[in-house]
Symmetry: C2
Subunit: 438 residues, 2 copies
Amino acid sequence: MPVPHQAQLVWQDAELAAIFHYDLHVFDSVAYNQTLNRITPIQDVNIFNPSQLDTDQWIRSVKAMGAKIAIITATHETGFAIYQSDANPYCMKVLKWRNGKGDIMRDFVRSCRKYGVLPGVYIGIRWNSFLGVHDFMMPKDGSQFQANRQVFYNHMCEGMTKELMSRYGDLAIVWYDGGGHGPELGGPDILPIVEKYQKNIIFYHNSQRADIRWGGSETGMVPYPCWGTYPFPYSHSKNQAIVFKCDNQLLKNGDANGAYYMPAMSDSPLRGYKGRHEWFWEPHDEQHIYPLDDLMKMYENSVGHNSTLIIGVAPDNRGLVPDEDVNRLKEFGDEIKRRYGIPLASVSGVGNMFSLNFKPAVKVNSAVISENITKGERVRSYRIEGKIKGKWRILSSGTCIGHKKIDTWEPQNVSALRLYIKMSEGKPYISAFSAHRY
Amino acid sequence: MPVPHQAQLVWQDAELAAIFHYDLHVFDSVAYNQTLNRITPIQDVNIFNPSQLDTDQWIRSVKAMGAKIAIITATHETGFAIYQSDANPYCMKVLKWRNGKGDIMRDFVRSCRKYGVLPGVYIGIRWNSFLGVHDFMMPKDGSQFQANRQVFYNHMCEGMTKELMSRYGDLAIVWYDGGGHGPELGGPDILPIVEKYQKNIIFYHNSQRADIRWGGSETGMVPYPCWGTYPFPYSHSKNQAIVFKCDNQLLKNGDANGAYYMPAMSDSPLRGYKGRHEWFWEPHDEQHIYPLDDLMKMYENSVGHNSTLIIGVAPDNRGLVPDEDVNRLKEFGDEIKRRYGIPLASVSGVGNMFSLNFKPAVKVNSAVISENITKGERVRSYRIEGKIKGKWRILSSGTCIGHKKIDTWEPQNVSALRLYIKMSEGKPYISAFSAHRY
């Protein structure tokens, strides 16, 4: 039975992560348009000038949400590296800002360490508007020139990978968006470099390896069930006809019998409400910060569905997370704690039946179940029953539990609550069955 | 009658200039191959590490030759800018060398000022192996992406032009190799920027303006006659069917009746002897430094043909002009002085006949004639006669004089030497008719 390796366990236990997007166009005073951004180089790199940059403030803002992992875009689609790269000349070295010595990656990692948040890095190599790279590739004009530039670019990406994997200590995750187009596709050979320098990391992802899979949307939610197991060793770098079928169904649901442990991520930008979906800061997007209710729905449909939720936080052109975002993140963290922080009661163990007894009866509207996933996702079918006025009534039922399942129902006065596991692969290891009321 | 403007006068009076080529591939330990260099990006920009850089030494080496103007390649075909550019991120800012603060353009100009040599700059924008530019153009794959990158690149070239024209004081020349592909051809609009910041500069060149013209070869020589006048306001950016006809005959000879004053340059690398022609330093090329005799032949067939001679000097990977080159440049300068430094006698004035008398008779083997070109190139036909044993004998004859004509013959004992101008456009203004023996 597939089980998580150490980094996957950390990842699933983290439950909440944040990703910070930061790139040149935050400063361009033009409304971000991803399609245009990918094909339009930024004329003046020195627009990048976060005069009040404070990565401590970034990390505090997401720690307040409860994030255990924070990820930063070392490069995104302009190709600009927000650190002191030797491999990629288009980096902070060229800036007037901080006299060319700025290194936001370094500052970010330091802030993470300071606040006990695990740092991770996103490396965008699929697009590079500066160098003319589109979907990993130099212009396909058939020339030897562009073929040579592809070799250069691949080595440059490998060089950045080495720098980012070797300079900043242990990282929780390295995220190649769109995948790290491997050498078999004419791309860089990044995996051996990651594996050389980071022994205990979430690698996401290429056709050779993926430790998590895309959850099939950017809604911050996965449907139910969302098995942590998956039939392929890669997320969606190959077999796309199968993987993407029926609106990414396989990515979303996983496969209870999959041979690989590869849990789904759920990601969403904080600013994704009402017609916007912005990973990057833009002025006047404050009204598009998700309301608390939406965020709680995300939480319950991601973390509560055996998936880690990654919230996109967008520092502004001052170099700060705006107050509105900071406040919402804190509200979100507070509400998670209020609902799911301290249970009314909790039990753990090995077996098919777990009971919580209340004297006197208490009002309960939620249960949280966790399997000990170091033993694999064993549960195949379960139900939760409440003893209401002396009679057992089914309050909830399901299939997959995995790292965490949250069930909610209309509040009921119960004198007992029990979890009955009807079917499992081997003995079920339940690390927590908890009752909540909110 | 076309006459030189102030910068052209300075240029022609300079007679000798040097151009220093310096770029990333000096450090790549690979034999330079221009065709490959243009289409092969340098993987590691930090190979650029001239640990003993001494631009004072560069300038001393060419001052010893007699150069009045020294030019440096601010960018060449890799696209790397050897100064602190804000417009072009691929510049010295990205280097480990001098902690990213190096600026060879600045050092070079300072050294020029220190030694009383006029600085000039070469800006290569036709090729850029880093950004994928070939013959001024981004890849022609028909995409909007590459069209946008062309706009970016053109603005970047304009930005570099502004930086180089505005940051380093007055420059003697700006040299866009291969021409500054103008906006009418989809290229940058550089001329207005040059004209805004440099009121008194040799602009070389685009289809709108050229203050000198290419001499039609890189031999360091022009044939005779080589009129300073030319029928077009550009060198060879247009009308190439005419300009390049018969092995660049029009560029080489000019046109006595041309409406534009645009003297021909003569350029050659110092390391161009016996099967090599190297503007850049490469190891083991010392045996390809031109012998003194070849250099003197160049001098007499360039400066002595109304053209300014530009010698290419190649600093090595230490950042120094190698001793062998330094020595040869000094020998060259010394020999020019020995032959043409102090005349046996000299005369100037307005008219058709100029005589030098010697008592007793002296051995003479050369005469140097200069027109006052602020009055235009007026002489159309002349001859030099020597009085040998009481009889006038023709020693030399020609058509064009212009800034300088050097005639040589087998040494003769003469009691007088005279210049007779047989034909001219208006009165001839002769600023010097000098006799030499060497």
